[in-house]
Symmetry: C3
Subunit: 336 residues, 3 copies
């Protein structure tokens, strides 16, 4: 069995030598045993030139030319560098390891929920992301004053544990109209357009293609050819979704300003402006528009070919289906 | 008949010589015949110094001093430049022509829907907009690594076919609290305030004055003295509005988190949180609050003096009017 | 009685010498009489080196070492500087005074609504906030062209009277995932996380701790341990809330895409997607889920332990309580 992942990165450290971020130009999933061994065991102090040269030489001997070349370029740069080799998919125990895992997601090497991020909030420091790079929060006031005394402004664009993805990687075949709304660790599938109102958290994303004008919360995955309308909401597991992991299947349409608190199957539609929570009481309609029964939306988790709307004459939340009454009964009570 | 439009611009090209963007400091609608001829026929390769000097000389001979002066400044800059003269209002067939048309809109020389943008998505390349300017997507990874090796961060603020408007022009008399949410090609009328949650797509905008805290979708025009509340939605023709072009008249108020899928006349109000789609069944109330009839919202397209709300006792979507029952009947069935 | 506030700041002026912004590294509430006197009476022209040296010397004589040290650093910088001493809490009558007051809020020296901001919109100029600092709107086109002629892009990130807070101060113990959405003058309490969809206006904020993924409008204060869900709305006094000042108490939860137009007490919940305006008719339910009476939401202003939802079977907006019918009647009609 091979190692889990590895990478050689450049990063930023604060004045006490703590890593603030690490940029991995070419993160590797399932590296060769040789490469994993070469990149492991270097600790979290920055690599010195000798260590980088040694890594480069060992990589060349193992046919790992790309990593060798990267090591030599980094050695010549004088920038703080780190090597990470993860034998197994355990929760990240250091800033470099956490960043490597976030890169795996954003480079589309692993899907959301497919890498262990246990403890990542505890490992990552809160950082001020500025036009001069990552700055430790406690060093910020002095840096802001220094900039002003020079006649400059220190632009602080984000104060967070997670930076924006596009300053680390822009995966192929996507548009992201406003990059501040996609965190490093997002998985943005090929053919995805994230409009200005779209948002993708870390450990969440889209299979692609698709149009995202709403919010993809942590843990949520959106299937191919689905469309999230402007300002729509997917409930994250941290925000009321409880233990249910929200997902949206293929060819779904969640309308503008709508929301979902249950996982949807394929070809589902939620009307603009309607929020379906797990507890919403829903009147099921068969293919003839007859009301069959009323149940909680959570009982519809994962079902396909549903259309949710609020009846604008009587305010009832309805779920339109293309099934007969008998088919619906059978499907809804299969697990009773 | 004069030519349609012309302009002299500076732009950015990728390493293969393809235009990524063009900045027109002073786009011209209906140029003089002389100016149109001077700026036409230069192709899409960058103008060399001789061509720019020749343009300047010809402009001076025709009394076009502003353009002459601009040509000389550009000649001295060494930056890639282009001249565009459009004889007619045809769909843009090049990046410079597309950018000229987007500038016409944002300089308020033409209203949304009043210039032919057919094919603009196909003409415009997807571009990484960075603190170092426009960068081709396929050149981005190398540029990101180069920046890190220098100890810098390449800030990638947008990955899109359309850049933000304010890096090209800020029309007079507006506030735009967060500029990433207004695309080049937006028409932002004098006296418009676009708050942080506001958004204006290309080929859309506001007559002004007005307060925009919601989303103005592609193709939508908002009338004078109208107020779009925080997070409200206007349905674009691409997103479910179908063939209906959505617009909002004068002195309208769309409440926070509300939405409209039909065009509104003047002095209309949509209650906060209510989404009125074309298919919403609406109970019409006369000036005495008597229910007159129920119809689909699309039948109310363009009518003035309507107030939409969801009755909070029975969930019905209602439309309050100031008409008598007889007036309402007459107005609603005028075209039957 | 001591003076109200004072500060020594660096700022930006336009080509006509008007202040565009002022940065106060260390604003002071209730300064000593001596310090207030030293910093008062300097007018709004920039301080020259002699004035700064004189301020430094006087501060040293009064034991105000921090301000003395700041004055000497500014004197050495050559940047435009200003001193402000406010005897009383009157509405700001100059740009430096307005900025000092906004700093008091964002440094958490005063709570929202606790400093007089009367007239601040009239005092503050509309400014283009760029990567080269604050630029006067009427000087922007020339600066944009100059940048392009150099091969640069002038990044215009905001066109507004109020800049973003984090370029002036990042108070301790907060995360702000996307800083463009928090204006200078916001009060962001310790332990507050403002997610990408969160927004905090000036003269508004959070006591902290809390999670803000919705919009905190001007004048609104959010209590400790409250959670504003993604895209939710609080109605500002300027936007339909009328004379009622909206606030949210402790341990409240406003669901995603919901909204409130009334002040909430403690431990209140508003269901995702429900907008409660002051005029919403609400059916009150007692602890046994019996309907007790129907009233306007404004009559519930400030009450605690309420849960608002829209009944998904019949569309009625309901308010669930933990009281008996008798308790509810007593509480609701206490002021009749």
């Amino acid at each position: 069995m091979s190692a889990y992942a590895a990478g050689l990165g450049l990063g930023t450290r604060d004045s006490q030598g703590r890593w603030l971020d690490v940029f991995f130009p070419a993160p590797i999933l399932s590296p060769s045993d040789a490469l994993a061994e070469i990149l492991s065991g270097h600790g979290t102090d920055p690599l010195d030139v000798a260590a980088l040269e040694s890594i480069a030489t060992a990589c060349e001997a193992s046919g790992e030319q790309a990593t060798a070349s990267l090591a030599r370029r980094i050695a010549g740069s004088g920038q703080p560098a780190t090597a990470v080799g993860l034998a197994e998919d355990t929760g990240p125990d250091s800033v470099p390891a956490a960043y490597l895992k976030l890169h795996l997601l954003s480079h589309r090497l692993v899907l959301p929920q497919q890498t262990n991020l246990q403890g990542v909030f505890g490992v990552l420091p809160n950082v001020a992301w500025t036009n001069l790079g990552a700055i430790a929060i406690d060093e910020l006031p002095a840096r802001q004053l220094d900039a002003r005394l020079r006649g400059d402004v220190l632009e602080v664009s984000c104060v967070d544990k997670f930076p924006k993805m596009t300053n680390y990687v822009v995966p192929a075949g996507v548009r992201i109209a406003h990059t501040a709304r996609v965190r490093l660790g997002a998985y943005v599938g090929e053919g995805t357009t994230v409009m200005h109102e779209g948002f993708i958290n870390f450990n969440a994303g889209t299979v692609g293609p698709g149009m995202i004008e709403g919010r993809v919360s942590a843990g949520v995955l959106i299937g191919a050819d689905s469309d999230l309308g402007g300002g729509c909401s997917t409930m994250g597991t941290l925000s009321g979704g409880g233990d249910i992991i929200i997902s949206v299947g293929k060819q779904c349409l969640i309308g503008a300003n709508a929301g979902v608190g249950i996982p949807l199957g394929d070809r589902c539609t939620v009307e603009a402006g309607l929020y379906v929570t797990a507890g919403t009481k829903v009147t099921m309609l068969d293919g003839e528009r007859n009301a069959i029964e009323t149940l909680s939306a959570r009982e519809l988790a994962g079902m396909s070919d549903l259309l949710f709307r609020r009846n604008s004459l009587n305010g009832a939340v309805e779920c339109l289906t293309n099934r007969t009454a008998i088919e619906l009964n059978s499907e809804l009570h299969a697990h009773n």
